[in-house]
Amino acid sequence: MQRQVALIKQSLFDQGYLDEQFIELEELQDDANPNFVEEVATLYFKDSARLISNIEQALERGSFDFNRLDNYMHQFKGSSTSIGASKVKTECTMFREYCRVGNAEGCLRTFKQLKKEHATLRKKLEQYFQASK
């Protein structure tokens, strides 16, 4: 079991899904806070699901309010950074860049990618926490 946990974790890092920030979080976990990382991750996914849904709606409307999209993405990026979700963070940055130049198509493409990364991360982390219990 331990080995499995370690493996999952290793792969997450190797594949760039997570970065050092995640390690920082793990260091905050202690007896007083035994499930800290999992709690944070849960919060994150809850929040980000909401954000993704908002962005989706905004994009579907087709009006492309870049400012608003940028705002959403800024939030998304913030929390992703805090949890160490590296790939997701990268996609956020790209998305914002497309917003900045007003490239709607770029936004759409990036967003799709972002959702994919996000979903993958979620799954992997769920596995990870499962294995850790």
Binding site: E24, L28, V40, T81, S82
Partner: protein, 518 residues
């Protein structure tokens, strides 16, 4: 927190430092909370800026530090920053995922003590307590207590600094903010008694400086001359530094004013005071940064000086107004306490009438007016810039020494200088809070505050400097309206004051110009 708890917390600082964390992002907030706990701070979190403000307003003393995200839906983080600085004068740290220097600059300009980038690392949080220390140290410098100056039974408290401070606060200080400041002071000060620059002390200081000469005065020598027990060279040094800055500032301002005054020819003819223009009622003297509102406030003082210029003609006046405050801070031509500003409503009428009777004779040009605010300015033409300098210095020292906080329902903050609470507020003394709504200077004043700002800043007394100061407490202090008292109380002191006056003009150039008036 109970008193005991407070003591404990204080003694273990920075452990237990009370932080309010504000971030609308739940993930970040949770992480921040944990990080702060790890640093052994006491943490309160909220995801809404509004709630944060409410919490803070509910009890200003509840927190030592605020950390806030920049982007929040219900209120811009910068706005929160400003409000906290203004109302509570707490150190605020900004947090953001924006690394754009523009934001950082904005944060700094709005008064943030620091700007951290997300994701925040624990190492950074481990050091944030320095901002609390710094802020309170700053306040500390302005209001230090010498044990033996305190009449309020400090003797038993020498050993226990925290206790002493707290007791002092309770007994003397009506201002909660200072309590907080003191709490923070405690752990940081190195077991040094705080020094309160009371009038007496300040006078000694001034006398020493005068004796040595402003330019040449050195803390060590001043200390020797002052011969005050338990005063350290450092105390004197920092006081001197402030003094010099204040002086410089005033000189600059006065020069500006002098120029303006010279233009106004209305009352040119007056006086022994070399024709510097008079000040019109309506005239707003742009003090320094032009922050001056209620320009009339400044001028109110002038007429008094003006009166003095008539020297022997009005013995009553000159004797009754030999100095501006009881023990005479820096000598000013019989200005009663500077912050008469809006006392004038009560005080001035009587005063005015005093003057009017006196003023009648000599000069028809002197337009005496019955009304409060404006009467003074018109009374006083031709004020020398030196006079003003004196005046302002005196204001400054007044500000230093005696700010009286109105007793009742004080929502007002202490002046940014925070000298007030240490003053044994003498009813007859200055420190009338300008009922014109003096509002505290924003926190950023305290941060990078220069002495110039200090001078200018929210000193309740300072009608002279910044009329804009507003205390939320609109009521006049109980000792308002006692201008007559002040005047009368000064009379017996005429003798010594006169002597002092002679010798005490620290600024050489003042001597000559003022002497001609007497």
């Amino acid at each position: 927190m109970t008193l005991e708890q407070d003591f404990e917390a204080v003694d273990q600082f920075p452990v237990g430092m009370r932080v309010l964390a504000v971030d609308d992002d739940q993930t970040c907030l949770r992480i921040l909370e944990t990080l702060l706990h790890r640093c052994q701070y006491h943490v309160t979190t909220t995801d809404s800026a509004q709630t944060a403000l409410e919490l803070l307003r509910e009890n200003k003393n509840k927190f030592d530090l605020v950390i806030s995200d920049v982007d929040m839906p219900d209120m811009d983080g910068f706005k929160l920053l400003e409000l906290v600085g203004l109302e509570m004068d707490l150190p605020v740290i900004m947090l953001s995922a924006h690394s754009d220097p523009k934001y950082v600059m904005k944060g700094v300009k709005h008064g943030a003590c620091d700007y951290l980038l997300k994701p925040v690392r624990i190492e950074e949080l481990k050091n944030i307590w320095q901002h609390v220390v710094r802020k309170s140290k700053f306040k500390k410098m302005k209001s230090i207590v010498i044990n033996d100056d305190h009449s309020q039974g400090n003797s038993d408290q020498n050993g226990v600094k925290a206790n002493r401070k707290r007791k002092d606060q309770f007994e003397e200080v009506e201002e909660e903010d200072e309590e907080r400041g003191n709490e923070n002071d405690d752990p940081t000060a190195q077991k040094k008694p705080r020094v309160l620059w009371t009038r007496e002390l300040h006078n000694k200081f001034l006398a020493a400086v005068d004796h040595l000469g402003v330019e040449k005065a050195q803390p060590k020598k001043i200390l020797e001359l002052m011969n005050v027990d338990k005063l350290t060279r450092e105390n004197v040094a920092s006081h001197l530094q402030k003094f010099r800055s204040a002086l410089k500032k005033i000189t600059n301002e006065a020069n500006q004013q002098a120029n303006m005054a010279a233009i106004d020819s209305h009352f040119m003819q007056m006086s022994a005071l070399k024709g510097l223009g008079g000040f019109h009622n309506q005239r707003q003297i742009p003090l320094g940064s032009g922050q001056f509102h209620g320009g009339a406030a400044t001028m109110r003082h002038y007429p008094l000086g003006r009166l003095n210029s008539f020297g022997g003609v009005f013995p009553h006046v000159s004797s009754s107004l030999p100095r501006n405050h009881n023990d005479g801070g820096y000598v000013l031509q019989g200005m009663p306490i500077p912050p008469l500003d809006d006392l004038n409503n009560k005080a001035f009428p009587s005063f005015t009438s005093q003057q009017s009777s006196l003023m009648v004779a000599p000069n028809n040009q002197l337009v005496l007016q019955g009304h409060q605010q404006s009467s003074y300015p018109s009374l006083n033409p031709g004020l020398s810039p030196h006079f003003e300098i004196n005046k302002r210095l005196d204001d400054w020292s007044n500000a230093l020494l005696s700010t009286n906080i109105p007793q009742s329902g004080v929502h007002s903050k202490p002046d940014a200088l925070e000298w007030n609470h240490f003053c044994n507020s003498d009813a007859a003394q200055a420190g009338f809070i300008d009922p014109l709504q003096m509002k505290q200077q924003p926190a950023n004043n305290l941060g990078p505050m220069t002495d110039a700002q200090l001078l200018r800043s929210s000193n309740p007394i300072e009608g002279l400097f910044v009329g804009q100061q507003k205390l939320e407490n609109g009521s006049m202090p109980s000792n308002a309206g006692s201008l007559d008292d002040i005047v009368n109380s000064m009379m017996p002191k005429e003798q010594s004051q006169a002597e002092l006056f002679e010798g005490d003009l620290g600024f050489g150039w003042h001597n000559s110009s003022l002497r001609t008036c007497i």
